[in-house]
């Protein structure tokens, strides 16, 4: 029986067999959202009328016997960083409150072309800067495993919507781990594809050379099905790679690791890593060995500098990317007294419209690029980027994929790290190197940490344009773990209906 707890591929099969209609499926999810989102606060905006109308059209097409895309009629939650024509697109920022873009991002165009039904826009750290959604101007999202905890960030709204069964699929974007870390802490699957394989056109830029949109789901296969829909060459994005995307769906169905060489990154263990995280990671390695994979321990010494390089490169690009929010053409405009000049209105609007973390990063980036400091900071960071690429190249000359924990800890408490930016930045320590090198990475659930019964993520990294390897290894591990757990890890999630009452209304403002 199809329910909100089914996987997207199960839902797709039921739609195909006409056991359920898309309208019913979409309505079912809105009912769930109505019930639990006051506590979870995954969504910033819902497009109920639009989604149901779209579902109806798809049902009609199906009834007429039209050939439909595999994910036709399946609901999806869209991170609020991607433009959707005439729908609010805020990036979690006050500065874009009420802005409705006059154009669709390429990702949205592809979702529409494949008849995926967009339920609404999900919460995120303002301009994707953060690891907890606490930096959203609209209040944090909450982790469905424990509503006092963060759902990860920046794409916490998307991951929370999956774990709360508000949507079977979601889109995230990943600049330093914003798809994978939320997936890790919510017990879901998230993939950052190779840079240049999913168009950035319409993805509101945080750090242009690092940003990449990708699929979020509850299973590896579901992620692959969505990956296939959104990936592909786009001439509107000059950094788009004009090559065929590897068959990730076939890889997700295969899941065979016999003879595959798996590199374990030495730098991503030890101090600063929660015990339960390392234990689940080790168990997953053991499973992979049992399945016939060969483990190789590797050192990537420059990874120790990745975090520092990232916190120079991303803020530098952001300081330039976010300059366009100036109160002149769209978005917020604040003037305090009549007759203030354009320059004053710009300053005031940016001062009030951006939150503290965004201002911090703009200031940091402005500094790193300014004359006299460029070489020492931004310039040096670009060199570290070269070193990290070289470390990956060397590693991939020895192994097929690299693995690590996705994040050093499980979900922390909301407010716990809010006043310590550096501690917050450490969340992305394992995910950042892939963004700097442009390669693909996946996080999938490895179990629950014994200390807190919260999900742990297992990260897989593959060479450029070899994203199918992520799905192959991920599917093998997932299959074995599901056997061990008796199904998806989310079966162990506490019943949200009981929890939500306590937190209703606290998430939004």
């Amino acid at each position: 029986m199809t329910s909100i707890f089914s996987t997207a591929s199960e839902m797709a099969e039921s739609l195909k067999q006409k056991e359920i209609s898309s309208v019913e499926l979409v309505q079912m999810h809105y009912d769930r959202i109505e019930k639990v989102d006051s506590g979870v606060h995954a969504f910033l905006h819902l497009d109920k009328a639009g989604a149901l109308a779209k579902a109806k059209i798809i049902d009609d097409k199906r009834a007429a016997g039209e050939k439909l895309s595999p994910l036709a009629g399946i609901p999806l939650a869209l991170k609020d960083v991607l433009t959707q024509k005439n729908q609010p697109t805020t990036c979690g920022s006050k500065i874009l409150e009420n802005w409705r873009p006059p154009y669709d991002s390429t990702v949205v165009e592809r979702l529409n072309a494949n008849d995926v039904v967009i339920l609404g826009k999900t919460n995120m750290d303002e301009f994707a800067m953060g690891s907890s959604t606490e930096n959203s101007a609209y209040g944090p999202s909450r982790n469905p495993w424990d509503l006092t905890r963060i759902p990860g960030g920046s794409g916490g709204g998307s991951s929370a919507s999956l774990a709360a069964f508000e949507a079977p699929l979601a889109i995230g974007t990943d600049t330093g781990g914003s798809i994978r870390q939320p997936a890790a802490v919510t017990g879901t699957v998230g993939v950052k594809p190779t840079y240049g394989t999913v168009s950035r056109y319409g993805l509101i830029a945080f750090s242009s050379s690092l940003d990449q949109a990708g699929p979020c789901a509850r299973t590896v296969l579901d992620a692959a099905l969505l990956h296939q829909v959104i990936a592909g060459y786009d001439e509107k994005d000059s950094t788009s790679i004009n090559q065929p995307i590897p068959d990730v769906v076939a890889a997700a169905k295969k899941g065979e690791v016999k003879g595959i060489k798996i590199g374990v990154v030495k730098e991503f263990q030890g101090e600063g890593y929660q015990k339960g995280v390392l234990n689940r990671f080790q168990e997953s390695l053991d499973i992979l060995v049992n399945l016939g994979a060969e483990l190789v321990e590797l050192s990537c010494p420059s990874f120790d500098y990745a975090l520092a390089a990232y916190y120079l490169i991303a803020p530098s690009e952001a300081s330039s990317n976010l300059a366009r929010f100036d109160a002149m053409r769209y978005g917020l405009r604040i003037s305090e007294t009549a007759g203030q000049s354009a320059e004053e209105v710009m300053r005031i609007t940016r001062g009030k419209g951006f939150g503290p973390e965004v201002k911090r990063r703009i200031m940091l980036g402005t500094y790193a690029l300014s004359s006299g400091y460029y070489d020492a900071y931004y310039g040096s960071a670009l060199k570290v980027r070269t070193l990290i690429k070289r470390d990956f190249e060397k590693a991939f000359s020895q192994v097929d994929v690299l693995v690590s924990p996705t994040a050093p800890t499980t979900a922390f408490k909301i407010g716990e790290k809010a006043n310590d930016p550096l501690a917050m930045y450490l969340n992305d320590i394992c995910t950042i190197p892939t963004n700097l090198a442009g390669i693909g990475g996946m996080s999938l659930p490895a179990g629950l940490a014994e200390e807190d019964n919260l999900p742990v993520g297992f990260q897989i990294m593959a060479p450029v344009m070899q994203d199918d390897r992520l799905y192959n290894v991920g599917a093998a591990l997932e299959r074995a773990l599901h056997e061990k757990w008796g199904g998806n890890i989310l079966k162990q999630i506490p019943d949200l209906n009981n929890l939500v009452g306590i937190f209703a209304g606290k998430g939004s403002n």
């Binding site: 802005w99 409705r100 873009p101 006059p102 154009y103 840079y195 240049g196 050379s209 950094t239 790679i241 420059s302 500098y305 520092a308 390089a309 916190y311 120079l312 300059a323 109160a327 002149m328 053409r329 769209y330 978005g331 003037s335 007759g339 203030q340 000049s341 354009a342 320059e343 209105v345 710009m346 300053r347 940016r350 001062g351 951006f354 201002k359 911090r360 703009i362 200031m363 940091l364 402005t366 500094y367 300014s370 020492a376 900071y377 310039g379 040096s380 960071a381 670009l382 060199k383 570290v384 980027r385 070269t386 070193l387 690429k389 930016p421 550096l422 963004n435 700097l436 442009g438 450029v464």
Partner: protein, 95 residues
């Protein structure tokens, strides 16, 4: 970092900040910069810079006219408009 420098940065970035905010951010930037400065340890002269993760060159589009937005669409998000143009407060400086 001196407060004067923080003020200069805020000015370059066109962000109005109160004195308290400037002092707070001064401390935070000091902390972060101390931490990220370690990139200099390994950024030797002979290492080339990587600005793009994936190396490609000569990505061009044909010189073809594509449809633009309508004037209405273009102005749809404008805080103010007049005579089919974006209306903005008086501009002081000149470029």
């Amino acid at each position: 970092m001196e407060l004067k420098e923080v003020k200069h940065l805020a000015n370059l970035a066109r962000i109005e900040m109160s004195d308290e905010e400037l002092i707070k951010i001064q401390k935070e930037l000091d902390l972060i910069l101390n931490s990220v400065a370690r990139v200099q340890e390994v950024a030797k002269d002979d290492i080339p810079a990587t600005s793009h993760a994936i190396e490609m060159v000569n990505v061009f589009r044909k010189d073809e006219v594509k449809s633009s937005l309508s004037n209405q669409e273009a102005l749809s998000g404008a805080p103010a408009q007049e005579e089919a143009r974006f209306k903005v407060p008086q501009i002081l400086g000149e470029e």
